[in-house]
Amino acid sequence: MSVDRVYSEPHLTFSRFNLTWAVLPTYILHSTFTMEDYKPPALPSPFNNTTPPPTLLTQGAEAHLYKTTSLNPSIPAALKIRPSKPYRHPILDRRLTRARITQEARCLAKLVREGVSVPALLALDWEGHGGQEGGWGGAWLMMEWIEGDVVRVALEKWEAWMKKASLDDEQTQAQEARVRALMRKMGAAIGALHKAGVVHGDLTTSNLMLRPVDTNDTNEVGLDGDVVLIDFGLASQSAQDEDRAVDLYVLERAIASTHPRSEGLAEDLIVGYRDSYKGAPSALKRLEDVRLRGRKRSMLG
């Protein structure tokens, strides 16, 4: 990423007066600078008068994720905001935002009813009002806060730890067995999701969380705990083998590209999935086709 796009002001000073790095303010070198400098869109009401204000965690193309408190001040909650997109026609913008946020909320509510481990839906407003002007400012959705790391972070920690630790074959196998157990749990969680008639649409190791359990062994990297599925922004209700197979295929590819060391262990994902519900074998059969042709169906003919 080029510097001038992110911090335009400091860059101007840098080029115009040709300062050396030594006299540049030190904050420019801080990696946190971008986060501090970035101004997210104003929060929709009522969160513009929340004290303390919600803290921004991540941002995607469609939504911002904040941490705040739930309606019980002692319990935290996740707040997902879909800000309005000023380049879209206002009527279309509202309609798309409303359709997408209610779709996500319906999926969450359905999965909670079916007992799949997902964050509970706490509150929702599909026509949120913007900060100062009081007009349309986007929609928001409040969810249960899930403690713990996403699986991507847990696997990265594990891979880094495996690199450092010099283990003999037997120990390596014991460690890999732990990852295999995690993969099976992930497969089972996805099976439960598909059984409930929902497909996720964007399964990656960043959209699976590990809710930690109390462990007495602090020596090892935590891979235990319940797998919780998050981010249903692209989810839809479907019971078709094709959609289910694509879900699994996308996750397989995500594991292969982000966790090369764990790639060989991903077959346990399928093992965990196969036994999770009645329709699983036929979805897995379709997965073999999808693997050969990719995520998109052929557009020929």
Partner: protein, 199 residues
Amino acid sequence: MASSLETINLPHLPPLPIHVAVYRDVQNAAFLKSQLLAGQPEYEYAFIDASMVLSRAHVIAAVFRALNDYSHSRLRSHNVHSEIVFSLNPTNNIAESFRRFGITDSTKDLLVIKVSTSPEITHETVATHLGSAVEGTSTSFDDQTLFELSDITKIKKSYKLGSLASPSKAADQIASKENVEIKQRLENALLGAIALRGS
């Protein structure tokens, strides 16, 4: 009579404190309902049948939804208090929501909510008026009491959640891990239904 009116400032919302009281063995439910139907301004409360309420979080989710709609001038019913009762309902039928969740002539246990929509409405004024208006035993607004008073079967029927397990009220099971989880799952399903109404 010592009143146990609780005043709550909900997070996120503009300064709109709410006053909540729970009464058991209410004797004059029919009178309260007639006053409400006559539109007496001093009887403008959200009177909720406590048997239809599972927990604090359940009521507060409905209150939050009503107050959020109120502060954006999107009320579907007459006032913010009727909107609270309406918000408890999972469907869009206002009359049905009053029948199901509101006070009826046979209501025994009553949950009363008043929103401080104007500065004249304070903890003291609400406590004084409720103390003289409601003939019942005041008790505290907590999860244990609400769960005790709740009619799980009726709640599940209203929200069409028949497939979910019912938490047990038996003294030896009430605190067990499984029972707490069953109750939590039912509560989460209720919150989802309240949030999604009308979507």
